[in-house]
């Protein structure tokens, strides 16, 4: 997973690129691959929840998200966690620049 967080005039812009093939039911049949997609994503700055998403398999492969918040400043730590349909979790962190 890749995270980029930048603060400009009190607004933090967070971009993330997650790792998942995002294969839904129909795609798993045509591509002969297992169903695997991220179901939930949370983003926290200094432990405080700033964004979250419940997701389905129709996001692009290796999903991309961008969101903005006023709840952070330069040097704060941002942690992003994902959960997939099998319950596997993944997380990564970065410092806001």
């Amino acid at each position: 997973m890749k995270i980029k967080a930048k603060e400009k005039k009190g607004v933090v812009e967070v971009k993330m690129l997650l790792d998942s093939p995002m294969i839904g039911k129909e795609e798993s049949e045509t591509r002969k691959a297992e169903v695997e997609f991220i179901t939930h994503i949370t983003a926290k700055i200094n432990g405080k929840l700033v964004w979250e998403a419940s997701t389905g398999p129709f996001l692009s492969k290796n999903p991309y998200f961008m969101f903005t918040t006023t709840q952070g400043k330069k040097g704060d730590e941002i942690v992003i966690e994902t959960v997939d349909n099998k319950g596997e979790t993944n997380s990564d962190k970065d410092k806001i620049k």
């Binding site: 129909e26 939930h40 389905g56 129709f58 492969k61 998200f65 918040t69």
Partner: protein
Amino acid sequence: MQRRKFLSLSAAAAAVASVLPASLSATDFRATAPKAWEAPTSQEAIEALFGSAETIDGQIEIKAPKLAENGGAVPIGIKSKVDLATVALFQDANPRSAVVVMELPEGSVVDLMTKIKMRKTANVTVVAKGRDGKLYSAVQKVEVSIGGCGG
């Protein structure tokens, strides 16, 4: 016997709780509104998720290409000046309509972007619930020249 049973039950419950990731403390719309994720059309999914399809137009801006060359990753931007709490994205190009439901705590700026898969030309619908309790929506048609759903 009763007590022993109770103790083993609570021990099992504690074990389950410790396994669950911390992120589940937040709202998981897949758990709270499972019907919305199975609905084939945007209309049905919106009703299942928000309980109503009566929305206010013109407050949300969708930034999407009119013609998407690659249906595997169609960028969808969502902007609004309204203080939104829940933003949901739907499309009619795939077997099921719901794509993502985002939750924005207080202090968020409604300037979002994601990429979705579309296997054919269809409407993309954004429905959002403001912190004022009202529902807002926007629709944009996206033409897809090459489908991107494994097809």
